[in-house]
Amino acid sequence: MILSTVIEQLLGGMVTSIEIFLLTLLFSLPLGLLVAGGRMSGFAPIRWIAKVYISIMRGTPLMLQLIVVFFGPYYLFGMSLSSDYRFIAVIIAFTINYAAYFAEIYRGGIESINSGQYEAAQVLGYSKIETFFIIILPQVIKVVLPSITNEVITLVKDTSLSFVIAIPEMFTVAKQIAAADASIAALLVAGIFYYVFNVLVAFVMARIENKLDYYE
């Protein structure tokens, strides 16, 4: 197969990979904040649930989580789901997995903020919610950004795990072509794609970090 055909076929997979990547970030970044809130809650049951959740998400393979989210509803509850569910399952699995990692990163960031910041805000009359969003969160974002960047770069590569439930993303397509073609050209092209994608991600994250470099 000539290279241009390979690339053409891979293009569809590439779009799917990028969709998985963007949707996962869109949902897991805020969800992670919520989970971090639960993890630090003053109410023990919530704290405990968040802790167990984080521990399971981080302690089991993402590939297994993908399989469970996709096949679970059928095998556990006998639900039959539409074909759209395949893609939805990928987004759910990635989101809940990455939210757990982000939650721990946020927690570290929130705990690194000096208690004097809360006290100054309280004395100035800010509500708890205002304090969090105006005073604390912006500082947390700056602190956690390097760790978030690491996770985001891992996510780019992790999207390829979706092959396990036959989502036609980049890696799945590349494998199919390679098998039909008895050549690894398609896999090499896929490798270049992941690499270029990550160079872009690193560039964008560095830009954001620079933007936040205006203090300290």
Partner: protein, 227 residues
């Protein structure tokens, strides 16, 4: 009626009784200095009055606005000097933006920082940061201003500029309660001095009365400053 009145205030942390029955009052325009060895409960007293700690019992009678100036400033590092000063008056007190900015510029001028409104706290010296934090407190138009060792985190050569600012405020009849280890300053600026030790008020009176007291603990404490 006093502006601030405290009666029988008690506060413990677990078994550690930190404030044992504190009563005091502050009149409008009065400057009260609180002195005493470290660990005697001075910060805890200010923290109870300003709502940062919950007292176990006692009455705190005060209605009005207050400001608190911390030992280590606690400026918001991600906000410019101007935003540090104006954000709470605008957001919390819902005051007119233009009026608040004008007020803030006035305060910065008073603090000798008129050229720093766009700077970030990390670009300022400790003394400048503390002056910004005083401006931030004043921007709320407080009826009373509390200071918890405002110069203790500063290099010795920078304490003078802060003490000058506080003296100026005293001259303008700003009501202030100042916890300090600067004895000469306390003597000079305060109308009333309270000496605390072990969670109780040991001495209270005019600077001359307190500094010439025969109380043993008071003398011991002052002795440390004149070695």
């Amino acid at each position: 009626m006093s502006l601030l009145e405290i009666k029988n205030l008690k506060k413990s942390f677990n078994d550690n009784v930190v404030l044992k029955d504190i009563s005091l009052s502050v009149e409008r325009g009065e400057v009260l200095a609180i002195i005493g060895p470290s660990g005697s409960g001075k910060s805890t007293l200010l923290r109870c009055i300003t709502g940062l700690e919950q007292e176990d019992s006692g009455v705190i009678k005060f209605d009005g606005t207050f400001g608190l100036v911390f030992q280590n400033f606690n400026l918001f590092p991600h906000h410019s000097v101007m935003k540090n000063i104006t954000n709470a008056p605008i957001r919390v007190q819902k005051r007119d933006k233009n009026e608040v900015f004008e007020h803030a510029r006035e305060l910065l001028k008073k603090m000798g920082l008129e050229d720093k409104e766009d700077a970030y706290p990390c670009e300022l010296s400790g003394g400048q940061q503390q002056r910004v934090s005083i401006a931030r407190a004043l921007a709320m138009n407080p009826d009373i201003l509390f200071f918890d060792e405002p110069t203790s985190a500063l290099d010795p050569e920078l304490t003078g500029e802060i003490l000058e600012v506080i003296k100026e405020l005293a001259a303008e009849k700003m009501t202030m309660v100042i916890v300090t280890h600067e004895m000469a300053f306390a003597r000079n600026v305060a109308d009333t001095i309270i000496f605390m030790d072990g969670g109780v008020i040991v001495e209270e009176g005019s600077p001359d009365e307190v500094f010439s007291s025969d109380n043993k603990r008071m003398k011991e404490f002052l002795g440390k400053f004149y070695d």
